[in-house]
């Protein structure tokens, strides 16, 4: 999953003549394309095109494919494209960017003491990440209409990007903040309510959050609030509000976006219970509490949105597809069965598009629901060995 973007000065180097750069530029145009405009070829064709480029330009990935005996000429369908385990980002530089082209790196939030996964970015790949995340965010969190979104008050429960430069999640929140005009309005009140301790632990300024919530919770004319954070930050928040016996009814249109597992940082709590507590403490109706599923190794995110039968299921945007694979046989599971989530993200142009996650999910006819993480997936370093 993800932790923290690093700001080496952006290189001015031109890669536009590079086939990967041109692929990235086409995809960015596609992501921004109005629905009626003519688009790119369908996903399966793009996937094969991208695989051929990554096979050619990403040496670490090519070795994995070759060891498996797979080359672009032998792959007829996108589902045959070899996926790399998310854990491989810890051991290999899975990138086609040369060291001097890397301007940022996002780390996975692994167990303390272990090497984190590293997803390298350059200006073009970051631009694509930002285009992809913004599109997903707009469609799923604030709505296409944008009504009230620019006016809404943003409360981000993570530390600011300067403190956690390697967090893809915080880069995402920062992108959202900037795109909504945050950067152009320096007079705005603070939007980040998190901090990091010397040991790197994420904390929150609960009093400041309560103050921000109280300010805006009076009267119908107040702008809606948009709270962004990890699931564990919301667990801590509802715990705090319960302890202080505080309850809010946030203005209509207020929303919560939560993401990620709990990663042992707070007591575990089923999602339904967390959402119920959020509704109870913040007065935000369940339909305005959105879950996001993303990781540092990807450039696109899934959101849980109501499926055909009104239950909430995760969906990726059209440029990323998901397969739920049987861990036993490696084949796609049937509807109603549980398997491992594999994502094929076209926006991962400069790394590897096909990523095998460690998450288990139940396959639905029109989406997936997360079942948690596979236990003890990784071999552990001996210093962490517990029996």
């Amino acid at each position: 999953m993800r932790a923290g973007c690093r700001g080496k000065p952006a290189l001015k180097k031109h890669r536009m003549n590079h086939p990967l750069s041109s692929f990235a530029a086409r995809l960015r145009a596609e992501i921004a394309r109005p629905p009626a405009a003519p688009g790119l070829p369908p996903f399966p064709e793009l996937a094969l095109e991208l695989f051929a480029l990554q096979f050619q330009h990403n040496a670490a990935y090519r070795r994995i494919c070759e060891a498996r005996g797979v080359t672009p000429s032998g792959v007829l369908h996108w589902t045959q494209i070899p996926a790399v385990p998310a854990a491989a980002f810890k051991e290999l530089e899975l990138t086609s960017l040369a060291p001097e082209e890397r301007t940022a790196v996002f780390h996975s939030s692994g167990t303390t003491g272990q090497t984190p996964g590293r997803h390298f970015h350059g200006p073009e790949s970051l631009a694509l990440y930002e285009a992809s995340l913004w599109s997903g965010f707009e469609s799923n969190v604030t709505g296409h209409s944008g009504a009230g979104s620019a006016a809404s008050r943003l409360l981000i429960l993570t530390p600011p990007p300067a403190q956690v430069p390697h967090s893809s999640l915080v880069h995402m929140f920062e992108t959202v903040r900037r795109k909504r005009g945050g950067a152009s309005l320096p007079a705005r009140p603070p939007e980040y309510f998190g901090n990091t301790t010397a040991a790197g632990v994420w904390t929150m300024d609960f009093e400041a959050i309560v103050e921000a919530l109280s300010e805006k919770a009076d009267g119908a004319s107040s702008p809606p609030q948009l709270l962004l954070g990890t699931a564990f930050s919301f667990v801590h928040l509802v715990d705090y509000l319960a302890e202080k016996n505080r309850q809010f009814v946030l203005p209509p249109g207020s929303r919560v976006m939560e993401t990620g597992g709990y990663k042992n940082r707070s007591r575990t709590m089923p999602k339904s219970q967390l959402h119920a507590l959020l509704t109870d403490r913040l007065g935000i109706p369940p339909e305005n509490i959105l879950c996001e599923y993303g990781m540092s190794e990807l450039s696109s995110q899934a959101y849980d949105t109501p499926g055909a039968h009104s239950e909430r299921l995760f969906h990726f945007p059209p440029w990323a597809r998901v397969q739920i694979l049987s861990p036993e046989t490696g084949r796609e599971v049937g509807v109603g069965e549980t398997g491992l989530v594999r994502v094929f993200d076209l926006a991962n142009v400069f790394s590897v598009a096909a990523v095998q996650t460690e998450d288990l999910a139940l396959r639905h006819p029109d989406g997936f629901s997360l079942m948690g993480r596979a236990p003890l997936a990784e071999p552990r370093g001996c210093s962490l060995l517990t029996i």
Binding site: I64, G372, A374, P379, I387
Partner: protein, 455 residues
């Protein structure tokens, strides 16, 4: 065959246990023990136990049949794996082995029956008798039946009333053993209770522990700590935490037919109980320099595991367990692609049935089990023990395949290092009845002595 309703575990699943039911069961067990068991002779108990065990070895034995019929669904082990496990466990319960156990632990086969003396004790004009606790409680971990079966056998041998508390959904095999004892000797059966509930049911457990003189438990350190915290101070507690095991294979015998035999024995240890016991190997350290290299050993072990899969399939796994295997394979696939000289892996095709990972890295690695074995190349035993240093003090068994003339030296080195059991490769999951679990006395921790110093 339907099992009669003798035990709490026989109640329909919707039945709810109450603390009062537990307390009542404990009282009944104690009464029955007083009436039927307290004055039985050790010899008659040995006779009953070995007769019941002999019957379990017979194909037509209804309890065995039931274990093999219902076991795959309820325990996850295939019929073949269960059958092998039953044969190995019940094959140990012979009169001869019971006598060896009694002599090893208590110095005399009659020590539980009467004041008696070994020749050495006679010389000092001493005699003694071993008394067992009135009432033992066993908290059984979910995975393998062996530890709880052993506890039940030892409990009967020492003439204690016993309450066996199984993890939820894991009572089948202890229950069947209890029924077989009941059938053989209803009076003995009346001194046994078997129940299952999900651990952490404080009210039930408090009621149970209040009655216990001695509690045995197997499980994680957390489970043991939780049980211990609930026990009255005077209750004896025998906790067996998680341990890990590994194998060491010397290079000398790794040639031709001898290597084949050793590989077959390694496969026995990986396949037995699907590698899920504390005695199953996570890693096999293979010494370099033999005619068969550690890497070739790994490749041949993979072939052997494939053959075993045909004759003794592993059986299906829950998705999350299979996922752990699939994901870990993925990591080794990546490493093998990038550094084939230090990492190789072999996987069962189209399933997670077995996996062999060969690594030059000697650091001990916890396997995800279910027939997932590491083969690590080492220069010698010292290098293996350096690799295993992180688990020092937590090791149960080291299975060895070494030349006979070096066995004693190697065993000594392992003993000094801290292994509590050294056995031939191939027998890691088949400890004898006399095995001292985690290095503790087998019966000695259960009994209390009365010494008689004579004039």
């Amino acid at each position: 065959m339907n099992l009669p309703n003798y035990f709490l575990a026989d109640l329909p699943p919707e039945a709810v246990l109450s603390p009062a039911m537990i307390a009542e069961a404990c009282q009944a067990l104690k009464r029955n023990r007083e009436q039927y068991l307290a004055s039985r002779s050790t010899e008659s108990l040995v006779k009953t136990l070995s007769r019941v065990a002999d019957e379990w070895l017979l194909e037509e034995n209804p309890f065995r049949q039931m274990a093999l019929r219902l076991g795959p669904e309820q325990t996850g082990f295939s019929r073949e794996t269960l059958a092998r496990g039953l044969d190995q466990f019940f094959g140990q319960l012979t009169r001869d082995h019971f006598h060896a156990l009694l002599v090893q632990e208590l110095g005399d086969v009659k020590r539980l029956d009467a004041l008696c003396s070994t020749p050495e004790e006679q010389r000092h004009r001493r005699g003694s008798i071993a008394n067992a606790p009135e009432f033992q409680v066993h908290i059984a971990a979910g995975t393998l039946p062996n530890p709880v079966w052993t506890s039940m056998v030892f409990g009967l041998l020492t003439r204690s009333a016993q309450f066996v508390k199984c993890a939820s959904g894991a009572s089948l095999l202890p229950r069947l053993f209890a029924h077989s004892l009941y059938e053989a000797d209803p009076k003995l059966g009346a001194c046994l209770e078997v129940a299952e509930w999900r651990g952490g049911a404080a009210a039930l457990e408090s009621a149970l522990f209040a009655e216990a003189d001695c509690v045995t438990a197997t499980g994680s350190d957390e489970t043991l700590a939780a049980v211990r915290a609930l026990l009255p101070v005077r209750t004896r507690f025998l906790g067996y935490g998680h341990r890990v095991s590994f194998g060491f294979i010397a290079g000398e015998d790794l040639y031709g037919a001898s290597a084949k035999k050793i590989i077959a024995r390694a496969a026995d240890d990986v396949v037995a109980w699907n590698q899920l016991g504390c005695l199953s190997p996570h890693v096999l350290y293979v010494q370099q320099g033999g005619a068969v290299s550690p890497e070739q050993f790994a490749a041949q072990l993979a072939e052997e595991l494939e053959r075993r899969e045909q004759s003794e399939p592993r059986g299906p796994l829950p998705a999350e367990t299979a996922a752990a295997i699939a994901l870990r394979r993925g990591i080794y696939e990546v490493r093998a692609a990038h550094s084939p000289e230090t990492t190789q892996h072999w996987c069962s095709p189209g399933s997670t049935a077995w996996t062999v990972v060969y690594e030059m890295d000697t650091r001990f690695q916890m396997s995800c089990l279910n027939r997932f074995i590491y083969v690590k190349a080492v220069a010698d035993l010292t290098a293996a023990l350096q690799g295993a240093d992180p688990i020092r003090g937590k090791v149960s068994t080291v299975g060895i395949a070494v030349p006979e003339d070096r066995a004693a030296e190697i065993a000594t080195q392992l003993a000094r290092w801290g292994a509590t059991r050294i056995c031939p490769l191939g027998q890691m999951q088949r400890p004898p009845l006399t095995w001292r679990h985690d290095g503790r006395p087998a019966l000695g921790d259960l009994v209390t002595w009365t010494d008689w110093e004579q004039l």
